[in-house]
Amino acid sequence: MSEPAIAPDRLDDYILAVPGVDALYPAGPLLTTVVASVVSALIPSVAAPNPIVVVERAGGLSISASIGVGPDHAAPDVCRRVHDAIAEHFSRAGDPVIVEIAVTVARIG
């Protein structure tokens, strides 16, 4: 596992633009996210952690996102649309090999 070749910049905005998505939650390990958030709050020059985790593995990229779905949408459909949006985003960004796109609905309504 190493740093991602493609940073997930603006991917969060892309996911939040998917109809039905009303929140994006940190998908990384809780402790890492909390520590990174605290460091970011104390040291303004350090960017806040991106809620989307992109990891470069041996076979390709693994992307993880955790979302909240609004009350008037079907969570399974929104989840699939987010998967498609992520796939499209990376396709436009050089089409790297992707081994996994994990999308978890953490809240509905």
Binding site: L30, V34, I101, I108
Partner: protein
């Protein structure tokens, strides 16, 4: 009123991004100001806050005189619901969703499903869900599961001529509709147990009030 053991407190803080239910209660008391991103950005905290707000709304509807008469019992009822909120703020099991993509790993958290079922139930006047459980292997696609709900019923929310059985039938239909829309679970049954029944009684008015 309700207390956590040191171990359960640590588990609760782990689930709630370092916070406790009491912290969230205080946060609501403060009107969510100043805003705390460690709470607002946490799905578990968001779910717990929503449930605490519903509980507060329900308690406001309970007649204060009845609360005084049954102080111990009402306290136990509230404590049960608080304990349930503690348990249900866990993300819980991963409930898989189907996809045509070979690289997709899509899922709902058990906590998200329980949260939306509570919203459906508590949205029915006269119903307050005190406990919600998904029984069966939700991690296995197609495996039949049973939804078990413990509910409190307040007669003030029932339609004229409606029985408790009718009200629970409405609840069952609402819960089933949500399960169909929001999940791909195979539902074997939605079992509902009414654990508390609150009757609305007209309070006697004093002679002085009657004369006014």
């Amino acid at each position: 009123m309700w207390r956590s053991t040191p171990r359960s407190l640590a588990e609760e803080q782990s689930r709630l991004s370092g916070h406790t239910i009491e912290d969230l209660n205080d946060y609501l008391d403060r009107g969510r100001t100043p805003s705390d991103s460690s709470i607002d950005d946490s799905p578990a905290c968001t779910v717990a806050l929503t449930r605490l707000e519903r509980l507060r709304a329900a308690l406001r509807r309970v007649d204060s005189a009845a609360v005084d008469r049954e102080a111990e019992r009402t306290d136990g009822w509230v404590a049960t619901i608080i304990d349930s909120i503690r348990l249900e703020t866990r993300a819980g099991r991963r409930i898989p969703l189907t996809s045509d993509s070979p690289v997709a790993r899509l899922a709902l958290t058990e906590g998200a499903v329980i949260g939306v079922l509570r919203t459906a139930g508590d949205g029915i006047d006269g119903i307050l869900i005190s406990r919600c459980r998904l029984e069966g292997d939700v991690t296995e696609p197609g495996e039949p599961i049973t939804v078990r709900l413990d509910v409190s019923v307040g007669t003030d929310g029932m339609n004229t001529g409606e029985s408790v059985r009718d009200l629970t039938a409405r609840l069952r239909a609402a819960v089933y509709a949500v399960l169909v829309q929001q999940t791909e679970l195979t539902i074997a049954a939605v079992d509902i147990t009414v654990t508390d029944l609150y009757l609305t009684t007209a309070l006697p008015t004093s002679e002085g009030e009657a004369d006014e």
